[in-house]
């Protein structure tokens, strides 16, 4: 057992460049040590009990359900990623794993070496469509690895929405899961991207979602984290073109013994860029969450505007939330604000509702809904909003 060069053999029929890239990533995986608590990023995130090797069976190589919007304009390419690597190497090869680097850590390397399912979406210049593309990644059984990767290329002035949904058929499944995404936004592109992670409650999940924004492009990214016993998600936007605008929003709801870790980066590489991040989470039972985010404004990124906030609603006495919002500002002509809060339901609010005759449990539920309300409004398209609201509703219960 374990991930080794032989395990790559099952991934047949791929072009040489991809096989080579996988071998390189595997070598990186073998070379890199497991992250230790002395690394700042992993100080509060314990992976010492995770051995990916025990889940080295890869499940369903191209297993995903793609819902193609009806009347998809011509020129749009929507395919399983491995198929696209074969059919459109000129589009895939120069981009794949150039935003999400395989050598970032051991798990990123493993994902790059063994990603199986996943989507490739290419929208040519000037193409717009309203109906969202829906990618559903299923895991049918436990004890294995499901490692989908999404690659989205948005041409100049294109406009569309995309939803990745990670679904477990068996909520008690164990295993190794990932769900990474790379999004390239061309000049003036407008992309809405939503990722909803609903893996089983006993899996280890690692995700890197990273976008690069060219001039005047707009990204509205929304992350929903609900599943996994351990979930580590990095959400990163690299603002590479003037006038680009990244909106990064997330909600998470942790219960039981779940542990969620979020790392975010708003990297303002050029001036006149804007980013707005809001991560909101509720914690129940003995769950724990860690949020660490960084706004970096580079030397020549004048007139940039960055906002970052993390709000945690702690619903149980035993749940723990850690919040570390960081700023690195190398320029004075900027507007930068960040904030973090960790706290229980405001007793004054609860009192107000109860004094109006609302039972405590209902009042509490209303306050939780209210807490998430403003961020739910930011979900970029209707289909995803309904999905997320329903998921949340069933959990707030």
């Amino acid at each position: 057992m374990g991930f080794n060069p032989e395990s790559l053999a099952v991934l047949q029929g791929e072009p040489d460049w991809l096989q080579q890239r996988r071998r390189g990533a595997l070598a990186t995986y073998e070379r890199l040590p497991s992250p230790s608590k002395t690394d700042e990023e992993w100080r509060r995130t314990d992976v010492s009990r995770f051995d990916p090797g025990q889940f080295s069976t890869l499940e369903h190589l191209d297993g995903l359900k793609l819902e193609r919007p009806s009347g998809l304009p011509s020129g749009v390419i929507l395919k399983p990623l491995r198929q696209a690597a074969k059919d459109h190497p000129e589009l895939v090869e120069p981009r794949l794993f150039t935003l999400v680097h395989a050598d970032r850590d051991r798990f990123a390397a493993l994902h790059a070496a063994f990603f199986t399912g996943g989507t490739f979406l290419y929208v040519p210049d000037g193409v717009e469509f309203d109906q969202p593309v829906l990618g559903q990644h299923f895991s049918h059984e436990g004890g294995n690895s499901v490692l989908p990767h999404t690659l989205i290329v948005a041409g100049k002035n294109s406009r569309f929405n995309y939803l990745d949904e990670y679904v477990a058929e068996d909520d008690a499944e164990t295993g190794y899961r990932s769900g990474s995404t790379e999004i390239f936004l061309g000049e003036g592109a407008q992309v809405g991207y939503v990722a909803v992670q609903k893996w089983g409650r006993n899996v280890w999940h690692f995700a890197d979602q990273r976008a690069e924004l060219q001039k005047d492009s707009t990204l509205r990214l929304f992350n929903v984290t609900l599943g996994g016993k351990f979930s580590k998600t990095r959400v990163e936007a690299s603002l590479a073109g003037e006038g680009s605008n990244a909106e990064l929003k997330a909600i998470y709801f942790a219960s039981g013994e779940q542990f969620f870790d979020f790392h975010t980066l708003q990297d303002h590489r050029v001036g006149n860029t804007r980013s707005d991040l809001l991560f909101k989470g509720a914690l129940q039972d003995v769950s724990r969450t860690v949020y660490a985010g960084l706004i970096r404004i580079e030397k020549h990124a004048q007139r940039s505007d960055a906002y970052q906030a993390n709000r945690n609603l702690v619903l149980s006495d035993k749940a723990k939330a850690t919040s570390i919002p960081m700023l690195e500002i190398d320029n004075n002509d900027v507007r930068c604000t960040h904030g973090a809060t960790v706290g229980p339901v405001d007793p004054d609010h609860l009192f107000y509702l109860r004094s109006r005759g609302i039972p405590e449990a209902t009042a509490k539920r209303m306050l939780i809904q209210g807490f998430f309300g403003d961020v739910l409004d930011r979900i970029p398209f209707e289909h995803a909003r309904k999905l997320v609201e329903a998921e949340l509703e069933s959990r707030i219960g």
């Binding site: 320029n331 507007r335 904030g339 809060t341």
Partner: protein, 469 residues
């Protein structure tokens, strides 16, 4: 002074002479750090054996601990090229003429009196406040307050000293607290008995007459139940020193219902590495306030902290950092909530100009069981030009129930609207900017005694000159 014979210690001095050097002798330990030098320091001070042992143990810890890899770049410090113990009289051998002209000019502009200037510059240890100090001393003695230098305290109040020394910041806390414990010298010792309020602020100025500002000061303040004291160290005028490393340790114990305020204004010359560990333990319903201003030095790493040990304790840090060209101020605060129903606030204001870098680094830790705590952190940074840099690294760890924690930070430049408003009222641009900066740090200056506030405003004015192109 020049005729006083120079004695090298560390080789054969002890064996050869075998007696304690009278104060008027110039004493200078060798450069570098080894157990013999530490023993010599302890022997020179005629310390009890436990202290000598503690120093040696700390030296071991210092050697074993790695350099911190976070924060500012400290790799340039050469520990072997530092004098670890200098008697005051040696520092006095410098002359006024030796001072760098910019330091002298700053004294002029700040309007610091001649005698005080010499004292600050380390060219004279005689300071006119000695008289003030003596009458103050009488007052304090009547109330039972002890206010002395730390070396004398070890000699004159051995039991009290031993009970508290090293209990708030043990030598193994960090590399620099270990270094300080190994080679400490000077600093203030204050004991305020139960229920006593010391109405006038106690200032290091008054005390430091024979002993100059030390490199490795050690300050210990004990506020017994229900007492109050305000201690002020430092001053706005730049302190010139040829020593490149300043590594002090400040320990404070604030007992039940007591309140202690500790005000620092640090303005070391820009060749100094200022690496200071400051920590207070606050017990039931006690209040600890750090007011901390960092203007000078090349690199400062300083995070005053409060351990909230019993219910009702309150901690407060108010910090201002100003980083000019070539400076890195890595400052902030730490609040460690050990007991339930404790509260803390940290307010940080930082200003960077001319390529300077300020970093806020803070830590709020709420231990399991420390329920119903409240903590709030606010950091504001002002960047005056596009070469400068500002960072914020707040760490918040909450392991308790029903905790409310907030953190807010903003980074901005002097706003065009504010400038326009002032300039439309006929105020010159440079002056307007200075006003805005002074307004920005007002929450800090208003906590200072008047004379310090005036000096600080003047200093900001000086620092701001030439910043507007």
């Amino acid at each position: 002074m020049a005729t006083v014979p120079k004695v090298e210690v560390g080789t054969d001095y002890k064996e050869k002479y075998g007696f304690f050097v009278p104060e008027e002798y110039v004493f200078k330990a060798k450069r570098g750090l080894n157990p013999d030098i530490v023993k010599e320091i302890s022997w020179m001070k005629q310390e009890p054996e436990w202290m000598t042992k503690m120093r040696l143990r700390s030296l071991e810890i210092f050697r074993k601990k790695p350099m911190p890899t976070w924060g500012a770049d400290l790799s340039v410090i050469d520990f072997e090229n530092i004098f670890y113990y200098l008697k005051a009289s040696d520092k006095q051998s410098k002359t006024w003429e030796d001072l760098p002209p910019d330091i002298k000019a700053t004294y002029d502009r700040l309007g610091v009196p001649e005698a005080e200037r010499k004292f600050l510059a380390g060219v004279s240890a005689q300071y006119e406040s000695e008289v003030v100090y003596h009458s103050l001393q009488e007052e304090l003695t009547k109330k039972g307050v002890i206010f002395t230098d730390t070396d004398s305290a070890l000699r004159d109040h051995p039991d009290l000293f031993k009970e508290y020394f090293g209990t708030v910041i043990p030598p193994a806390d960090n590399k620099f607290s270990a270094l300080n414990t190994a080679v400490w010298s000077g600093g203030s010792f204050i004991y305020v008995p139960k229920g006593v309020r010391v109405d006038i602020p106690l200032q290091a100025y008054f005390r430091i007459n024979a002993e100059n500002m030390g490199q490795f000061e050690r300050t210990l303040i004990i506020c017994d139940e229900g007492s109050f004291v305000h201690y002020i160290e430092g001053c706005t005028a730049p302190i010139y020193t040829t020593d490149s490393l300043h590594s002090a340790v400040v320990e404070i114990i604030v007992k039940k219902n007591a309140r202690c305020r500790y005000t620092t204004i640090q303005n070391w010359s820009t060749n100094v590495f200022n690496l200071v560990t400051k920590r207070a333990m606050a017990y039931a319903d006690a209040t600890m306030e750090w007011v901390d201003g960092n203007l000078g030095s090349q690199i400062t790493m300083k995070y005053p902290s409060v351990y909230l040990m019993e219910p009702g304790a309150k901690g407060d840090v108010l910090s201002v950092a100003f980083a000019g060209k070539g400076q890195h101020q890595d400052a902030g605060g730490k609040m460690i909530h050990v007991a339930p129903n404790t509260t803390s606030t940290i307010t940080s204001k930082s200003i960077s100009k001319g390529g300077g870098r300020t970093s806020y680094r803070g830590h709020i830790k709420i231990y399991p069981g420390a329920n119903n705590c409240k903590s709030f952190v606010k950091c504001d940074a002002l960047l005056l030009d596009d070469e400068s840099r500002s960072d914020t690294y707040p760490y918040n760890d909450v392991d308790a129930e029903n905790v409310t924690l907030g953190h807010e930070a903003t980074v901005s430049k002097v706003s065009d609207e504010q400038l326009f408003y002032l300039m439309s009222r006929g105020i010159a641009r440079a002056e307007a900017e200075t006003m805005i900066v002074n307004g920005f740090i007002e929450p800090f200056t208003k906590e200072l005694p008047l004379e310090y506030a005036v000096e600080l405003n003047r200093l900001i004015q000086l620092e701001m000159e030439g910043s507007v192109g």
